[in-house]
């Protein structure tokens, strides 16, 4: 079974600075997808960024980018120019290309300090 580990339960960052959230996963599969989701306080969880395992190029969405290291099974999220609205819990998730269900990490709570 796949497992996803987020080793940082809490992180904080100063507004306008950069922060990196860590995620590692364990799988024997070669074809899969990785995701970062954001859950603001008392609000709906939304997809932030996705990465296909067969693509070597790291995904980027505006201020959000990932560092995908397939051999190391590492998938970190970098948030640049942090904003107050980035404060949320962030979940890393794994999804096999052949199965519909995802496995989630325990989450990292990000605090943004003004």
């Amino acid at each position: 079974a796949q497992t996803v580990t987020q080793s940082q339960p809490e992180m904080s960052v100063q507004e306008a600075e950069t922060v990196t959230l860590s995620c590692t996963y364990d799988t024997s599969e070669s074809d899969y997808y990785l995701f970062w989701y954001k859950q603001p306080p008392s609000r709906q969880m939304i997809l932030v960024i996705r990465q296909e395992a067969y693509k070597q190029q790291n995904a980027t969405e505006n201020r959000f980018s990932v560092n995908f290291q397939k051999a190391a099974k590492s998938f970190s999220l970098k948030i640049s120019d942090s904003q107050l609205g980035d404060a949320a819990m962030y979940f890393c998730a794994y999804r096999s290309a052949s199965a519909g269900k995802s496995t989630f990490g325990d989450g990292t709570t990000l605090t943004v300090k003004p």
Partner: protein
């Protein structure tokens, strides 16, 4: 926009009651999921469904059942609610095999308290 709607934002039920949590999506997604979210435990999969009338057990199905009579609706049933089922319940949907890479769309969640 894809919408996943959960019928209740907050629920308070008594121990032993039968509880229904409803989830409806409007984008013709094949896959639907029920997770529970607890502090420090992340999201744990209860049940999921790939198609109408189909269901698969997730990691923690004990004490729960599901129903999917129509493609757009996926119901989670707590047969006899217990205090250890107090949690946040999240419903999600996604496209089928061809859309596996596009992630989930989540509902707003139902915070259930069992007293």
């Amino acid at each position: 926009d894809v919408k996943v709607t959960q019928s209740s934002r907050y629920l308070v039920k008594r121990t032993g009651e039968k509880v229904f949590l409803e989830c409806v999506q409007d984008m013709d997604h094949e896959n639907m999921f029920w997770y529970r979210q607890d502090p420090g435990l992340g999201l744990r999969l209860i049940y999921f469904s790939y198609d109408v009338k189909m269901k698969e057990k997730g990691d923690i199905p004990e004490g729960y059942s599901v129903s999917r009579e129509k493609k757009e609706r996926f119901s989670l049933i707590l047969e006899s609610a217990s205090t250890n089922q107090t949690s946040m319940y999240l419903c999600a949907s996604s496209s089928g095999v061809t859309g596996v890479g596009y992630g989930y769309t989540f509902g707003s969640g139902t915070r259930l308290t069992v007293v």
